[in-house]
Each structure stands twice: as structure tokens, then as C-alpha cells.
């Protein structure tokens, strides 16, 4: 056996600061630079050596781009387009930012009050917000401009108003979650006024949401105010923003297209750079994306083993797991979850894999057929032999031929593990059709048979039920029926009874036991409950921190546990009528843990 420890990467928990993360994002950094240049030009407009943007010079009208003294040419009144562009950008940015500030202020205030006060105030405010949302976005702005009359400042108000709902909704959502938190209760008990709590306790925690919403809406607001000006409903001459320049240039589209193309390009560059930056800001502030959780898991776990195990193995056991190692990649760190785990299973045998949550037992089970979500999962060492053949060396196709056919899984919570939008019968039939050349009808009747075998009464009717229409126990029976669909040799049951009531638990375990005896199935049962192991398993392996710390025949192990951790797990199974004595016996075992 080769030494694998040497190649194992160091575990590092260092995290990058938000700024570094933002600048690491190349696109966001590019957005920041472009936006910075545009803003700088706009701010410095009065100091730049450019002509007066409003100075007309009719003889010199409609000069093309790169003409003498006018880099970007002149418009229909002979005004310098570059100068007008810079001054127009200044106006557009100012208007966009003001609209964002107003929308953020009013919207956040509404959201804060609604989320904090709840009840009638909340209802009233949010109904009003819903009403605003019931209008198509720009239409409401048009109606407001219609009333106030066309002008830049009115367009600004209109755009601010239509963006209020985004802030109100987002802020309310977060505030509702915060209002019941302990630190808010503590502040209330310390005698702080509601206003003080809102602004000193709640607001700082809501701030990231406000920033995210601002970064996603400011681009829109610049775009939409420009749009209103383009329609002639915003900036009125001689005042000009990018939109009104575009609107004026439109009349000259055929003769002098540059007059309208240039301001449009500027709006595009401005909005694009804001969007790039906004996406970067959101990625930094949204912790889910930071952890890389939203990457698509591949169909087979990443397998990057340091040594390739032999393809076959002479063994009478149906399942042999040899020195299996699975890790999770978090950024540059690799965190081992399963560490050199070995065990084997004979035909018809039942083995319990037991340990607390996080001990690596589920990851072990999923690793056997490469079902660990990847990224972040990687199988780094070892082999899995089914009928003497190494499984993880197989192609994706070869692995898929085993999944659900020779080896089937039963998962923990059948409400989330069954597809919510397909009828249970179809889901079972689909499992059959994945491996057997049957007609749809034949698969369907086979599904009903299977449902009857796992003890679902009136299977003929329930076959067309959806998972949410069934009880937890029934759903798990469907999960088991699906596992039996192709007469597997091995069933891997990952906490099959944890999500169920105690009485239903016993029935499901009995069912698994019966099926095992009837069909000679090998059963790998993953659980955290020694009571379950004692009831059904021939042998047992105890897992802790990714390693098997002890294994053996269930009876021997229960009678004479060697490892202190095993003793703790066994002690954790209460007996009926034990009462307080149970706590007394368990407490000293967990002395290192604070009560």
C-alpha cells in the first residue's frame, strides 16, 4: 500500500477580505475601472479643456467624428459632441444616483417599519407596495410624469417611485427575520425605544441588502431616466442628459448617425460597468456564492486517486470497500470527510454503519457509486469492489449501469428525495425502465406490484399520487419500492427511518428485514441509532471523524465495546422507564462537552 499522507494538501481556513474578493473578480474590477474613469470625467467636467457644451455654431453643424477641433464631431446646432457628452453624463449620473438615493431611503424605511412592526401596519404598507408592483414598471413612471409634466426632476421622481418596491420588499424580508432575534429582544428589554432599535440594531444588519439592491437598481434607474428623456419626457432643452441627446440625434439618424450613436454608447458603457460592479458586489456580500455552493454537481463524483487500485479482486464478498478516502474542496483547502475506510459485506448480510452526523457515514455510502456532489467532493484514494470488480475505475456509463440495478439506494427524507412534480408510480416505473427493456404499461403494472410488496394498500390508486399527498411512512415505502425496482443485490439505506415517527420507523425496519431475508439482499444500513443496529444488523462499524474506529459482530460489540466513542453511542440509546437515570449514566460520558 502506498503512503498517501505525503501528498495530502494542507487544510487552510484563511478567507479573503471582501475588497480582495471584489478585485479578484476580473469582470468586477474592469467594471470598477471603467466606472471610475467615466465618473472622474463627469466630476472634472468644469476643469477639462473642452468647449462650452451649449455654444452653438450653425455653419459648423454636423461635423463628422475626428474632425478638426471636434473629436466626436458636432450636432445639428454645431455644438461640440464631446463636451455635451461629458456634461450629459454628469447630469445622467447625478439623476441616476439621486433617484437611487430617494428610492433606497423611502423604500428601506417602508421595509424596516413594515418588517419590524408587522401586523396591520405591515399589511397596509405591503399591500400598497404590491399595488405599485401591479403596474408594468415603466408605465407607472409614465403616468407620474403625465401628471407632474415633462421635466428632468419629475422623471427623477417617477423613476424613484417605481423603484421603491424593490427596496421595500427586500428590506422587509430581512427585517422580519431579524425582528425576532435575541439581540433585538435584548435591546427591547434594555429599554431602548423602537426607533433606536430600528436604527442601531436592525439597520446595520440590513445594510448589505440595501447595498445589494442599490447596486442592482442604479443601472436600471440611469437607463430609465435616459429613456424618459429620450421620449422627450425628461430633460428639456437647453438642459441635456444622455437620453435627450440620443432623442435629438434620432431625428438625424440617416444623415449623421454619430449624433445618436455616441450618447447611446455612453449609456451602455455606464450601465454595463455598473452591472459588472454590481454583480461583483453581490457575489461578495452573498455568502452562499462565496462558499461556491451554487456550482453544478457532476453526474459522477470527481475521482482523483493518487494510486489506481487493481481492477479486480478475488473475494467471496459482494461488496468490498478498500481504504476509501473522500474529501471536500473548499476554495484551495481540501477537507477530508472519509479517511481510509475499509469494510466488506457478504451476500444477504446486513451491516450497520453508525456514527454521529458529520462523521462521514453518508459520504461513505454515497462514495460507493460516485454520488457525492462534486464539486466539492473528490475521491482521493482507495477502491470499491462489487462482485470483485472495481467500480470507481469504470466509465460514467458503466457506473450508471450499476446504479439502481445491482446497487440501489434508499435515502433519508423521502419528501425531498422524491421528485415533487412526478407521480410516485411514474418515478418507480422510470427506475425500472432505466435498466429493463419493458413497455411503459408493463413498467407501470410492475410499479403497482412493487408498491403492494412494500405494503402500500390500494396501490392501484396510490400509484398516481404525488409525493406530497402521502404520509412520511408511505413515502419511504415508495423509496424502498423504487430501490427494489431492478432486484438489486445490495441496498444502501442512508438513515432510512430518521425522518419518521417511532412506530413507522419500526415498520420500515421490519420491511427492510423481510425483504433482505426473502431476496438474499446485502444491506448497508447507515444510522446514528444503536437501537436500530441492535435490531437488524449482523455486524457493525463505528465511524468518527471520517474513520472507522471499531467494527465487529453486533452482539460482541454491544457486549464489549472497546472504543470510548462506541460506549458513548451505546449509552445514548434510552430504555423504557429508565427516566432520569438515563441522563445520569450519559452525563459523565460527555463530561468534556459543556451542558
Amino acid at each position: 500500500m502506498t503512503e498517501a499522507l505525503a501528498t495530502k494538501p494542507q487544510v487552510s481556513t484563511a478567507r479573503l477580505s471582501s475588497w480582495a474578493l471584489l478585485l479578484n473578480n476580473r469582470l468586477a474590477a474592469a467594471g470598477l475601472v471603467i466606472l471610475g474613469i467615466i465618473c472622474l470625467l463627469a466630476i472634472l467636467a468644469p476643469l477639462l479643456p473642452i468647449p462650452n457644451p451649449n455654444a452653438t455654431n450653425p455653419p459648423n453643424r454636423l461635423q463628422p467624428v475626428f474632425s478638426d477641433g471636434h473629436w466626436l464631431g458636432t450636432d445639428h446646432l454645431g455644438r461640440d459632441i464631446l463636451a455635451r457628452l461629458i456634461w450629459g453624463t454628469r447630469v445622467s449620473i447625478a439623476v441616476g444616483l439621486s433617484a437611487t438615493a430617494i428610492a433606497a431611503l423611502v423604500g428601506s424605511l417602508i421595509g424596516l417599519v413594515a418588517g419590524y412592526a408587522r401586523g396591520r401596519v405591515d399589511n397596509l404598507l405591503m399591500r400598497g407596495i404590491d399595488m405599485l408592483m401591479a403596474f408594468p414598471y415603466i408605465l407607472l413612471a409614465l403616468a407620474i410624469v403625465a401628471v407632474l409634466g415633462p421635466s428632468l426632476i419629475n422623471a427623477l421622481y417617477a423613476i424613484a417611485v417605481v423603484n421603491i418596491p424593490f427596496f421595500a420588499r427586500n428590506v422587509r424580508g430581512v427585517t422580519v427575520g431579524l425582528a425576532n432575534r435575541e439581540f433585538v429582544d435584548a435591546a427591547r428589554l434594555s429599554g431602548k425605544s423602537h426607533t433606536a432599535i430600528l436604527f442601531t440594531e436592525v439597520l446595520p444588519n440590513v445594510a448589505p441588502v440595501i447595498v445589494i439592491t442599490m447596486s442592482t437598481t442604479v443601472g436600471w434607474m440611469i437607463l430609465e431616466t435616459a429613456g424618459l428623456s429620450f421620449l422627450g419626457l425628461g430633460a428639456q432643452p437647453p438642459q441635456a442628459d444622455l437620453g435627450s441627446m440620443l432623442g435629438e440625434g434620432r431625428r438625424l439618424l440617416f444623415n449623421a448617425p454619430h449624433v445618436s450613436i455616441i450618447p447611446g454608447l455612453m449609456i451602455f458603457a455606464l450601465v454595463m460597468s455598473i452591472n459588472l460592479l454590481g454583480d461583483g458586489v453581490r457575489d461578495v456580500l452573498d455568502p452562499r456564492l462565496r462558499a461556491g455552493d451554487l456550482t453544478r454537481p457532476r453526474s459522477v463524483t470527481n475521482i482523483k486517486r493518487d494510486t489506481i487500485p487493481p481492477k479486480t479482486m478475488q473475494s467471496s464478498d459482494i461488496l468490498v470497500v478498500d481504504q476509501l478516502e473522500t474529501s471536500f474542496q473548499r476554495g484551495r483547502a481540501t477537507i477530508p470527510a472519509v479517511n481510509k475506510v475499509s469494510f466488506s459485506l457478504k451476500k444477504g448480510e446486513c451491516m450497520g454503519l453508525i456514527g454521529e452526523s458529520g462523521s462521514g457515514k453518508s459520504v461513505t455510502a454515497l462514495s460507493l457509486l460516485g454520488l457525492v456532489a462534486s464539486p466539492p467532493g473528490v475521491i482521493t484514494h482507495g477502491g470499491v469492489y462489487i462482485d470483485g470488480e472495481e467500480v470507481l475505475s469504470k466509465t460514467e456509463h458503466g457506473l450508471r449501469a450499476l446504479r439502481g440495478a445491482k446497487v440501489a439506494y434508499v435515502f433519508q427524507d423521502p419528501l425531498t428525495t422524491l421528485h415533487p412534480l412526478f407521480r410516485v408510480g411514474d418515478q418507480i416505473a422510470e427506475a425500472i425502465l432505466a435498466h429493463q427493456p419493458l413497455s411503459r404499461d408493463a413498467a407501470h403494472s410492475r410499479a403497482i406490484e412493487l408498491m403492494e410488496q412494500v405494503g402500500i394498500r390500494d396501490a392501484k390508486e396510490r400509484v398516481s399520487a404525488y409525493p406530497h399527498e402521502m404520509s412520511g411512512g408511505q413515502r419511504q415505502r415508495i423509496g424502498i419500492a423504487m430501490a427494489l425496482a431492478n432486484d438489486p443485490d445490495i441496498i444502501i439505506a442512508d438513515e432510512p427511518t430518521t425522518a419518521l415517527d417511532v412506530t413507522v420507523q419500526a415498520k420500515i425496519l421490519d420491511l427492510l428485514q423481510d425483504l433482505r431475508r426473502e431476496r438474499g439482499l446485502a444491506l448497508l444500513l447507515i444510522t446514528h441509532d444503536f437501537g436500530v443496529v441492535a435490531q437488524v444488523c449482523d455486524k457493525v462499524a463505528v465511524m468518527k471523524d471520517g474513520e472507522i474506529v471499531e467494527s465487529g459482530e453486533t452482539k460482541t460489540l454491544l457486549k464489549n465495546p472497546q472504543h470510548s466513542y462506541t460506549k458513548k453511542l451505546i449509552a445514548c440509546v434510552p430504555e423504557l422507564g429508565q427516566g432520569k437515570a438515563f441522563l445520569e449514566t450519559v452525563r459523565p460520558l460527555f463530561a468534556e462537552a459543556k451542558p
Binding site: 399595488m131 405599485l132 401591479a134 403596474f135 408594468p136 414598471y137 415603466i138 408605465l139 407607472l140 409614465l142 403616468a143 410624469v145 403625465a146 401628471v147 415633462p150 443601472g219 429613456g227 429620450f230 421620449l231 419626457l233 440620443l246 439618424l253 448617425p257 450613436i261 447611446g264 449609456i267 450601465v271 452591472n275 454583480d279 451554487l294 456550482t295 453544478r296 454537481p297 453526474s299 457509486l369 454520488l371 456532489a373 450508471r400 450499476l402 446504479r403 440495478a405 440501489a408 439506494y409 435515502f411 427524507d413 425531498t416 428525495t417 421528485h419 415533487p420 412534480l421 412526478f422 422510470e430 427506475a431 432505466a434 435498466h435 404525488y466 406530497h468 399527498e469 423504487m482 425496482a485
Partner: protein, 315 residues
């Protein structure tokens, strides 16, 4: 199912009443005295009072609203004093054009947005994903009114392959192929932003769903990856995209205001812009209300479609 549809229909009624109140309130808030506007600055106080009485403006606001809404329900939206014809006639003439334009765009952005989003989720971090993400970013950052001008320059002026404006050719035409030729540029321009938004959200929804337990179950069954993604994951993601399409309908109907202006499409959007410039308030009122109500109804449709696909919503 019928019960669910009826329930949703009933729940739309207060929304529509709310919309009508907002539209009414906005118009009632208009500064200036309508009577003075009609009579001019030489009006005597007696004449002003008489006009106010004739128009019902001396009555309390809620009574005015009630009269207004009763008239609306009888199809009386008032009279446009600029066009000198009933508002309802003008709206009826133009509503079809807007419906054709916005409807085509909505279909285009749904199809291409969902396709792009799914492809980009499936090939996450690959080249296809990067290219799609790049175009999506360009799409949602481009001012549609400017893009429309660019399209006119390229396709109508430079290449002369498509008409620059209008809904039908002035001479000849008037048939379906003619309409379709005129529809190409405006509908694509209008669809681009919404396509970007739908693509983004589809990508996110697919990535979210692909992490769900039931996808792992589908894989554990030994299903081909194609089925896992396009049957199991896509169906679940699609259900959550339907309301997004409903919301995009609002953006498309709003965006039609720009596009109809740029391409001189004879729809309600272009009408609204003209009416605002000429301060033809009743026309604005009617147009806004009709578009807003159709938006509510479209969202209702989206809700029903979602419930049809997701049995959990019905109970």
C-alpha cells in the same frame, strides 16, 4: 383545479380595483383647475362653478371615482379632446398592435432566455457559459431605444433587408408576411433585455435545482444524465421560472413604449407618449389602465400555468 382558477380570478379583483384607484388618484392630483383650462383665463367665477357642476367636479372625490368607474365599466373612458374621438375607440384601434408586438417579444424572450439559461447552467464555467453570460450582460445593459436605432441603421439603411418603421407597408402589403417583416426588428429589440433577465434566472434556478436531493435520487436510479437534467431538473426549474416570465411581461409591455416610438409602431405605447406630450389626460388614463389590467391578467395566467405544472400549489 377549477376551484383554484376561480380563487385566483377572485383574488385579482381587489388588485384591479386598487389599480383603478391609483390611476384615478394620480389624475385627480393634477395641479390646475380643469374648468379654468377649458374656459381660459377670462372665466367668471359663475362660469367656473357651472363647469365644475357639469363635470361633477364639485362632488366629493369618492363620488367622482364611483361615477368614473361606472362609466368605465360601460366602456366609457371619456373623450380625447386632442384627437376628438372617444378614448375607448383609440385604445381599441391600437391595443391589437401592442398585443402583437409584446406577445411576439414575450414568446421570443421566453424561448431564448430559457434555452440560454439551461445551456449555460449545464456547461457551467465552460466556454458556452462564458459566452452566454457575456451576451446576457450586454443584453441587460443595452438601452433598448438605442439598440432599435442601431438595428434600423444596420438592417434598414445599410443592408436594406427589413423595413425601418410601421406595421404594414404603405403601398401594397397588409398581409401576414408583410406584418412579419415589419415585426422582426421591433420584436427582437424589445425581447433582448427580457431574454437576458430570463436567461440569468433560469441559470440560477437550474443550478439551485441540480443541488436538490431528488436530483441525486434520479442519478442513484441510474438515469442517463440527459434525463436527469432535461426531465427532472428542468421541470422543477421551469415551475419557478413561470412567475419570472409573468413579471417580464410587465417589462416587455413597458418597454414597448420605447420600441413603438422608435419604430413608429401604431400601438398604445406610442399613443401614451404622444398623449403625455399633448397633456391629453383622459387618453393617458385609459391607456395606462388598459395596459395595467392586461398585465394583471397575464400574471394571473402565469399563476394558473404554474399551478397546472406544480400539484403542490393546488392544495
Amino acid at each position: 383545479m377549477t376551484g383554484y382558477i376561480i380563487k385566483r380570478l377572485l383574488s385579482a379583483i381587489p388588485v384591479i380595483i386598487g389599480l383603478s384607484i391609483i390611476v384615478f388618484a394620480i389624475m385627480a392630483l393634477i395641479p390646475g383647475d380643469p374648468a379654468l383650462a377649458i374656459l381660459g383665463s377670462y372665466a367668471t367665477p359663475e362660469n367656473v362653478a357651472r363647469i365644475n357642476r357639469d363635470l361633477g367636479l364639485d362632488r366629493p372625490l369618492y363620488e367622482q371615482y364611483f361615477v368614473w368607474i361606472t362609466n368605465l365599466l360601460q366602456g366609457d373612458f371619456g373623450r380625447s379632446f386632442i384627437l376628438n374621438r372617444p378614448v375607448i375607440d383609440e385604445i381599441m384601434d391600437r391595443f391589437g398592435a401592442t398585443l402583437i408586438l409584446a406577445g411576439t417579444s414575450l414568446v421570443l424572450c421566453s424561448i431564448f432566455g430559457i434555452l440560454a439559461g439551461v445551456v449555460s447552467a449545464v456547461r457551467q464555467f465552460g466556454w458556452t457559459d462564458r459566452i452566454v453570460t457575456f451576451f446576457v450582460l450586454i443584453g441587460i445593459s443595452t438601452p433598448s431605444f438605442w439598440l432599435g436605432l442601431l438595428f434600423i441603421l444596420i438592417f434598414a439603411v445599410q443592408w436594406r433587408v427589413l423595413p425601418a418603421s410601421g406595421m404594414y407597408s404603405v403601398y401594397g402589403g397588409g398581409d401576414l408576411p408583410d406584418l412579419l417583416r415589419h415585426l422582426v426588428l421591433p420584436s427582437i429589440t424589445l425581447a433582448i433585455v427580457a431574454t437576458g433577465v430570463i436567461a440569468r434566472l433560469t441559470r440560477a434556478a437550474m443550478l439551485e435545482v441540480l443541488r436538490q436531493d431528488f436530483v441525486r435520487t434520479a442519478r442513484a436510479k441510474g438515469l442517463a444524465e440527459r434525463k436527469v437534467i432535461y426531465k427532472h431538473a428542468f421541470k422543477a426549474a421551469f415551475v419557478s421560472i413561470i412567475p419570472v416570465i409573468g413579471i417580464q411581461a410587465g417589462f416587455v409591455m413597458g418597454g414597448a413604449v420605447y420600441i413603438e416610438t422608435v419604430f413608429q409602431w401604431p400601438g398604445i405605447g406610442a399613443m401614451l407618449v404622444n398623449a403625455i406630450s399633448t397633456r391629453d389626460i383622459l387618453l393617458v388614463q385609459g391607456g395606462v389602465l388598459v395596459v395595467a389590467v392586461s398585465y394583471v391578467l397575464l400574471n394571473l395566467l402565469a399563476d394558473v400555468a404554474q399551478a397546472l405544472l406544480d400539484p403542490r400549489l393546488k392544495s
